[in-house]
Amino acid sequence: MTAEAGDVLSALQIGEKARVLGFELPPEHRQRLLEMGLTVGAEFEVVRFAPMGDPIDIKVRGYHLSLRKKEASGVRVARL
């Protein structure tokens, strides 16, 4: 994937904040993330990982959303 474009969500650590730059995901998955408020330009914070390391709980638009690393690795982000 286009690693040079920046980081991906799954590479972030707990407490890190970032902004969404774009997606490398199937259209259906991308659309669902968008609808849940993870739009391009949206800022979020990585809150925690599940006990087995996956999924990831992020805080976006004031609420908690969890997604798997697999999808998170397709979300290009810029650290804030």
């Binding site: 991308r30 659309q31 669902r32 609808e35 849940m36 006990p51 087995m52 004031g62 959303l65």
Partner: protein, 699 residues
């Protein structure tokens, strides 16, 4: 209904109102408060699945029908629940009139994301009243909402409410009774090219002009696969949609994301004007602190296992008492009838068919109620979402996701609520797989079978030994369920990677009233099933075990059953079950318990002509232990006992589950497939135990 020129009669519905909103926004509480009708209130996303309506009265006493739409995040449909909501709003669900007005409930403490659905609703051209719910929580969290600005920006009435405290309902009633109710004038502005394509497509749609734009926009935002799956439009419409999507893509606009971006951009403007954050973050921080324990690497598991253990401890201990009462009550009723009635077929039908059959199922009501009490509390508090969060990684190993865990867990008490709980799973294939494997989890109806077989196997076993065998049966059920899920995902429903998107709502105090209401509703549902399907089957099974009657009137009950159709069928299937070490008498038990596995114990009592068949299983145990084949070998060898237990772990043997799977999948295909594969698996399991054990030199 025939149109009438007269004034509506008193009580006649003058307005159809739908109530919609995201999961966890408190929609159901408002529905209950408005209608007084009892309904589920939960915290786990997507709790509302059945069609719920209730009647309420406007500010001038006019009757209105309120329809509770399933909670959804978007009108872009992913789950069966969300499809219902969309179809009602587009007026294309048969038998459900398109609503005259929508009450759109939004969670004030989570305004931004909640407004997304509002943005989509505004595109549907139906009058909307926004109920700005949980304003108290928002305020505590330091969120200040400028009502005037919000009203102006949304262009529709906005009523602040606190559903749990009854704040704002008078104003809400007033707002929906107002006449006329103008359709909304404002909605998110789409890019010009997209707007042009939308209107062009809208003109081709064979729907009412007022919904055409909204529907066209929904069509244009569908991805390829979803477009292919559409059944309610002509091919021509689908082709036109595709062509429009291609033109849009060519002009640099992604039809899948552009409308979403436009709506969020508009929401951004609304929030910039009306939403002011700051101050203390009380509730949120309490929730966060709780989560740092409850989803902790170590303590998260401790808490999770502790909660599960407590739940099952209560199911198997607290429920024992009422189960005992039900047992004595049914036995007492049967004895009473035996006393008072002459020994006729009718008496047999009533006592051995109706009372024994239905009583044998109703006895599980206490366990089901306790289970629903716990599930209700876990849902209401928001812990369910955490359970899914914690379990997701494990579930993903077999290709499912965390949301499948709740149905599997519930199936440990009874597969029926478990299968009903699969409705929150968006992905159809995942949902089917979960439904197919859920009955492999050892439900409470298997306990009587395990108990008698353990007693036959090890009459002098200590409590620990018994518990150990019992637990290994549960473990086998788990392994089988997860293994089969993996097999199904790998071979039957290939190439589909489910996505997990889970909202973790803040923890909330559960309302005891809501939880008890839900228990009551679910209990009634269960009883209704026992009263219909199970009653019919009990009568059928009784007839099979009674007729034809032996010519000798002095025949013993066990001779009679041997002579009956059931006995004949037992003989008929003997070649099939011989490799498992069973004789035709066990065959009768297997056949008779096809409808409900716990019937096995009662049937074996009849087959072996054991007098007492109630709590005291010792006579049956001893008779079974003494039972010999014609050549003098004992029937119930350890391998046969173990094999029978394995058989019951894996076999479907529950007609109520068949009925519920039929209803939930809307076809006979899946329940029949399920019966076939589970029976096959059960036979194979018992075969391996018996023949494998003999090869290893065991008996």
């Amino acid at each position: 209904m025939t149109p009438t020129a007269l004034e509506p009669a008193r009580g006649e519905v003058v307005r159809h109102v739908a109530i919609a909103g995201n999961p966890n926004c408190g929609k159901t509480t408002i529905f209950n408060a408005l209608t007084g009708l009892r309904q589920k209130v939960g915290n786990y996303p997507g709790v509302t699945v059945e069609k719920k309506t209730g009647r309420f009265f406007g500010s001038h006493g006019e009757a209105m029908e309120l329809l509770d739409l399933p909670g959804s995040y978007s009108l872009q449909v992913r789950s069966p629940d969300e499809a219902v909501a969309r179809d009602v709003l587009l007026g294309r669900l048969p038998g459900v009139p398109r609503p005259d007005v929508i009450i759109c409930v939004v969670d004030a403490s989570n305004l931004e994301r909640n407004l997304y659905l509002v943005a989509q609703m505004l595109e549907l051209n139906i009058p909307i009243v926004v109920a700005l719910n949980m304003v108290d929580v928002a305020e505590k969290n330091g969120v200040v909402i400028d009502l005037m600005a919000l009203r102006e920006k949304l262009g529709v009435p906005v009523i602040p409410t606190v559903g749990t405290k009854g704040v704002g309902f008078i104003e809400l009633r007033q707002a929906v009774s107002r006449s006329p109710l103008p359709a909304p004038a404002i909605c998110a502005q789409m890019p010009i090219v997209l707007e042009r394509e939308t209107m062009a497509l809208a003109r081709q749609l064979p729907v009412a002009p007022e919904v055409a734009r909204g529907e066209a926009l929904l069509l244009l935002t569908l991805h390829d696969e979803a477009l292919d799956a559409i059944a309610h439009h002509d091919r021509a419409i689908i082709d036109a949609t595709r062509a429009a999507q291609q033109r849009l893509t060519a002009s640099g606009i992604d039809p899948l994301s552009a409308p979403v971006d436009a709506r969020y951009a508009w929401i951004g403007q609304v929030c910039a004007a009306a939403l002011h954050k700051g101050g203390a973050h009380d509730d949120a921080s309490i929730s966060d602190r709780l989560d740092s324990w409850l989803t902790h690497r170590v303590w998260g598991w401790v808490a999770f296992l502790g909660i599960m253990a407590l739940m099952f401890f209560c199911i198997f201990t607290v429920a024992q008492y009422p189960m005992g009462w039900i047992d004595s009550a049914t036995a007492g009723l049967a004895d009473f009838l035996k006393d008072k009635m002459p020994d006729t077929d009718l008496r047999g039908l009533l006592t051995d068919g109706v009372i024994a059959g239905v009583g044998g199922v109703v006895i599980f009501l206490p366990q089901i109620l306790v289970l629903f009490f716990f599930l209700g509390i876990l849902e209401d508090t928001g812990y369910m979402a955490r359970a899914a969060f914690i379990m997701d990684r494990l579930m993903s190993k077999v290709g499912l996701h965390g949301k499948s865990f709740i149905p599997m867990l519930s199936s440990l008490a009874c597969a029926i609520p478990g299968i009903m709980a699969t409705r929150t799973i968006e992905n159809r294939k995942d949902r089917l797989v979960t439904i197919l494997v859920a009955p492999l989890m050892s439900c409470s109806a298997r306990i009587p079978v395990y108990a008698i077989m353990i007693a036959v196997l090890l009459p002098a076993a200590s409590g620990f030994q018994k518990a150990g065998i019992m637990l290994s049966m549960y473990a086998l059920g788990f392994i089988a369920a997860f293994g089969m899920a993996w097999v199904f995902k790998k071979h039957l429903f290939k190439g589909d990677t489910p996505m997990l998107l889970l909202e973790m709502p803040p923890y909330r105090m559960p309302s005891l009233r809501g939880v008890l209401q839900r228990m009551w509703e679910r209990g009634l549902l269960f009883l209704r099933r026992a009263g219909t399907v199970i009653l019919a089957l009990s009568i059928l099974l009784w007839a099979l075990a009674t007729y034809p009657k032996p010519s000798d009137p002095e025949a013993t009950p066990s001779e009679a059953i041997a002579h009956s159709y059931a006995g004949q069928m037992g003989h008929a299937i003997e070649p099939l079950i011989k490799p498992l070490g069973y004789d035709w008498k066990i065959g009768i038990g297997l056949l008779a318990s096809f409808a409900a596995r716990e019937v096995f114990v009662g049937t074996m009592s009849i087959v072996y002509a054991v007098e007492s068949e109630d709590e005291n299983t010792e006579p049956l145990r001893d008779t079974m232990r003494a039972e010999k084949h014609a050549d003098g070998r004992p029937v119930f060898t350890p391998l046969v006992c173990l094999g029978l237990m394995v058989f019951y772990v894996l076999a479907m043997q529950c007609i109520s589950t068949v009925a519920i799977v039929r209803r939930e999948t809307n076809s006979w295909r899946w329940p029949l497939f399920q019966i076939a594969y589970m029976t096959g698996l059960a036979w194979l399991g018992a075969f391996i135990v018996y023949q494998g054990g003999r090869l290893l030199g065991f008996q």
